[in-house]
Amino acid sequence: MHFNRKDLLGINELDVSEIEYLLDLSRSFKEINERSIKKVPTLRGKTIIHLFYEPSTRTRTSFDIAAKRLSADTYSITASTSSIVKGETVLDTLKNLEAMKPDVFVIRHSASGAPWMLAGRTTASVINAGDGMHEHPSQALLDMLTILDNKKSLRGLNVLIVGDIYHSRVARSNIWGLTKMGANVVVCGPATLIPPNIDSMGAQVSHRLDQCIPEADVIMVLRLQKERQQQMLLPSLREYSAWYGMNGERLKRAKKDVLIMHPGPINRGVEISPEVADGPCSVILDQVTNGVAVRMALLFVLGQR
């Protein structure tokens, strides 16, 4: 066993052997998802609560499917359907739910660090399903798994992350994960969307997408939230798209075997054009498929604790 933690909170705190172990384990769960009866009894009798303080379709569904395929009992609580809207603090909510003896909390929260605070206050395991602009560890793991389905190794691979790095937990978790595994990471976007001192996390910075594309083995395109215009970060979506949108013209200058990735949800025509998103280099839906396997692996290691 290479994983002895109570919680899975972030990629930054994992070492290489832990990441490798989780990726290997995820690979072993992929096969279950291809069966006609997609269920194993591994977590029978275990209770998993999805506590989501931020809207999510993909991640919550993915965790829920993963838990059910392991035969766990699952409950979902979202910001709009629980006492959260009545003004109960997150700690009170956690304590009340804990009193019902769950084994694992899967927590998404718009405030960076919230899963760390909650993990310290419960004896149940906590999985971070995304906190603010900080970490999204299951996404980074499924991204690495998807790359490894197509490339021999992460070591020496050039990964380009394009877009709103500043607000992206996906970018942060991937920078930590990929650099730990030996990949070279370049982040690219307008200077308003690159956080200060990102180089201290191990990524190189570029503002010229066209110069970065030919070198890249993997291009991860990030979602651009439309409200960034109002925050004076961008003059217009049109200009963003012209300089940083991933389109067919740009793809022509990329390596033949480049992988195009996107954590979703996609803004078609803004950060990625339909021909790229749906084209032969795109592994965007493979990422979604792998997400279930990765989340089964995480629930397995923590749920069996």
Partner: protein, 437 residues
Amino acid sequence: MKPNENPANLILRNGRVIDPARGFDAVASVLIENGKVVEVGANIEIGTERRREFEQIDAGDKWIVPGLIDMHVHLREPGEEYKETISSGTRAAVAGGFTSVACMPNTHPVNDCAAVTQFILKKAADEGVCRVFPVAAISKGLEGRNLSEFGDLRAAGAAAVSDDGRPVEGSLLMRRALEYAKTFDLPVISHCEDLGLSAGGLMNEGRVSTRLGLRGIPRAAEEVMAARDILLAELTGARVHLAHISTAGSVALIREAKKRGIPVTAETAPHYFTLDEELLSTFDPVYKVNPPLRAREDIEAVKAGLRDGTIDVIASDHAPHSTVEKDLEFEYAANGMIGLESSLPLILRLVSDGVLSPAEAIAKVTQNPARILSIPFGALSKGAPADLTLIDPRVKYTIDARKFASKSRNCPFDGMEVQGRAVMTIVDGRVVFTAAD
């Protein structure tokens, strides 16, 4: 603090008397009669027939200093008595060695009219145990639109004006406040923050904010306003006091302004020369404060500013909050930390680290704030009301917030090993605090 009807006769014997205002630093005794300082000297003789009237206190190995002044605290009364009251806050003050505090106006209601100032002074007289100097609001309701009535507030007992907790955003309003305050000799205390630059910010902007995914507050948010206020002080000739300075850039701006003779003074808080932003890695809201904890290089610059006199004052910015405001997600937790009962040992650490001499350190919490506020305290002058603090500079202990007199517990120094504390606090000739061993 009630009028002293039974003023004590006391002799503090053979302590190291440090009185920066008079340039005095020697082993001596202090004679207090009828609540007033009568004599400070090496050989104080009182006739054998009168000896019985005086309580003798052996101050050997201790420092005897003018009563400490904290010119930046939040007492929360009126309005948020569950966090702190004038009673509990002044008890925290004297436990920390402070005999005078200046309390900021962001109460509910805001201290922007004579009635609230009078309420605070009445409460302090009835229930407080140290001197309280209300700081009134610059703008009505702290809304940054119209000036509050400085003349009325001064007459009611306000010691200064400030919109602390928020900046005066409009440069014209700040100009007018500085000019109008001159009319009434009221110091203007500025909370330097450009709200546009700090918007949504949760911690110092830089390497650590990027790593933690917490929105950053750039140093420039403080420095832009510090620069503006310095220029407005130059324009108007009015004194401006810059509160809770936290960045190397602000220290440089103030140093330069002083060199040019602009009437600016500045203060910092113990957390800005003791704690750095790396502590936020725990996401513990006890470290959330505005301005935010900065980087090591800022801490060094603040210390250098204290050493060369660029920063005149150390004040705690004592900001009590209950668990209702603090035991939350970092993003939603309130800014602020309490400091009255942890300030002195952290100031003394500057002495043991060689940043300040004992006299320089004591001046930052006695002579200098008294000068800025124009209050007749902060010195052991003959005939002055006897406000004194007896300090044991050697005692080592662990700060334990559970034992604080403050009603709140949001102290980032809880559990820290420190050296030095107030062992006796005397206000107006009355012993109001004695340390339990």
